[in-house]
Symmetry: C2
Amino acid sequence: MSIDREQPGMAPGEGAALCLRDMGAFHVGGAALSLSDLPITKKVLAAGGEPVRMDPNGTYWVGQMYAQYFFPAQPLSSVPLQLWHGGGLTGACWETTPDGRPGWLNYFLRQGWDTYLCDAAERGRAGYAPDHVWGAPISQTAESVFERFRIGEGIHGLDEQGLTQHAFRGGQFPAHAFPSMVRQMVPRWAHTDSVILEAYASLLERTGPSVVVCHSQGGMFGLTLAMAQPDKFRAVVALEPAAVPASSEPGTLYDVPTLIILGDRIETDARWPSIRARIREFAARHPSVDILSLPELGITGNSHMLMMDANSQQVAGLVQQWLARKLLSS
Amino acid sequence: MSIDREQPGMAPGEGAALCLRDMGAFHVGGAALSLSDLPITKKVLAAGGEPVRMDPNGTYWVGQMYAQYFFPAQPLSSVPLQLWHGGGLTGACWETTPDGRPGWLNYFLRQGWDTYLCDAAERGRAGYAPDHVWGAPISQTAESVFERFRIGEGIHGLDEQGLTQHAFRGGQFPAHAFPSMVRQMVPRWAHTDSVILEAYASLLERTGPSVVVCHSQGGMFGLTLAMAQPDKFRAVVALEPAAVPASSEPGTLYDVPTLIILGDRIETDARWPSIRARIREFAARHPSVDILSLPELGITGNSHMLMMDANSQQVAGLVQQWLARKLLSS
């Protein structure tokens, strides 16, 4: 299997029809939760509609997640591949890129993977708990995201000229299309990690052992679950995981084949040098973990949003090659 | 074109591969919004991660919506079909039904429609505004939804036996799978109608004239926009629209071919008799509007969630036949 013969910037098979033997979606995980003793109100829910008595006391489902599945007509492998997004994002980050190119969902589908496109608990089509349960979420400003995702620095507002001017020179993120990425951002919470992990565990219980391609906050979830339930993972590909599992005990086992990919400009970032140090310690302790630092391969300019960068297909190709070497040839 | 020869409960072509010439997603609509003078905090966003300075002052994008598109390899028509969900729901309601059958997305794709699966502004992958902008959303209890969606009455909690016992006898909704529908529910606001309408207008600007299949709150949006911008609509199919456009002036034009579908048990509902009365007035004033009352056709037991009911494929078939008569034969 080689992606080297493909046209640059073009997904394998792009242009040809994508044939699926099935597609659909489901929610999984979470639990029923009852609320009581809250005040009753009346609200008109649609202009011109009848007022509805809103009694918040009763049963909700809380902590579930959402997965869409796309199964190619001619699958490459009996193992499915799952796409787990990062914090403040949804499964949409793996679809069409902000500047309109095919995303990693289409890439891996065209490679023949049975693919699950996930919205973690608390966001996107997964939904989130009533206000009474988790309190108000956090929303991130465009200015902060531009900097923390290592696209550039010092923007104020979203005018295209400012974005292009303040993007890092040689950066791979399509800065002019940054507003389309900002539209993808969703509010998040900072204390729901265990809820999200449980939902992912329920998902894997349903899907069976999988290749998990995960990003940022999702990278942390992927690595953490792979350590706790290695039998549910055939491989983990973590794009710039926001954290690695703490393994204070020297003998802690982690033997899932794992690829951690790092982008560029980590040295000059406020947070990434220490995250990378912990990633390196983690890889040093666990021989099943490979680190792929793109700048060290001569691939420069990648932001935190590797699946959206101008060279996203090239990075996807590296993932596919690593997976082929680790899984498909054995 | 006839669906009558198909096996009952089976979508046309189900079992055969579904071939797409393209699929992807985008966000559209909304506007940048700046917040200032709010307090700054510091939060750890991923367990074991580095604390992040959270400055809520800055730029957000607010009021955008999300659309996934699926374009069959062999389209039926040059006009796309859009699926607009109801209140407290997302595009997921058109996918796999709560009891695991193919939903209307797959049905219309297999009929050959270029299909947009939408999340309206404020929910799902569309995201929602920071807490400072819209305030806290409303969440609906399972007990209230069970009653208001005319599935049954008097449940407390979500145990399967209780659900089956309290479902209306002869009802079409798969009551045992109601928890899977509850997991689909998302919080909503009651004062964002104009934001949502503007986003849908932006979507239609991008997609061009469409057939819009819309439900409940989405039905109200579909009919309202079709009255305001008839050139953007080839047809509207409104499943139990929560409201119809007010047209106090007798000469108000509404000439988009429109089908309004009503389910069963409206007479005994607290709100639906008056909504239906307004729907009938609306249809009486505008000859382009057809009403299809399922019980009057001898199709009984349908809930408010027509696309999830046990006979959802039969109802989809009626929609397809009406569309074929109105559009494809002309």
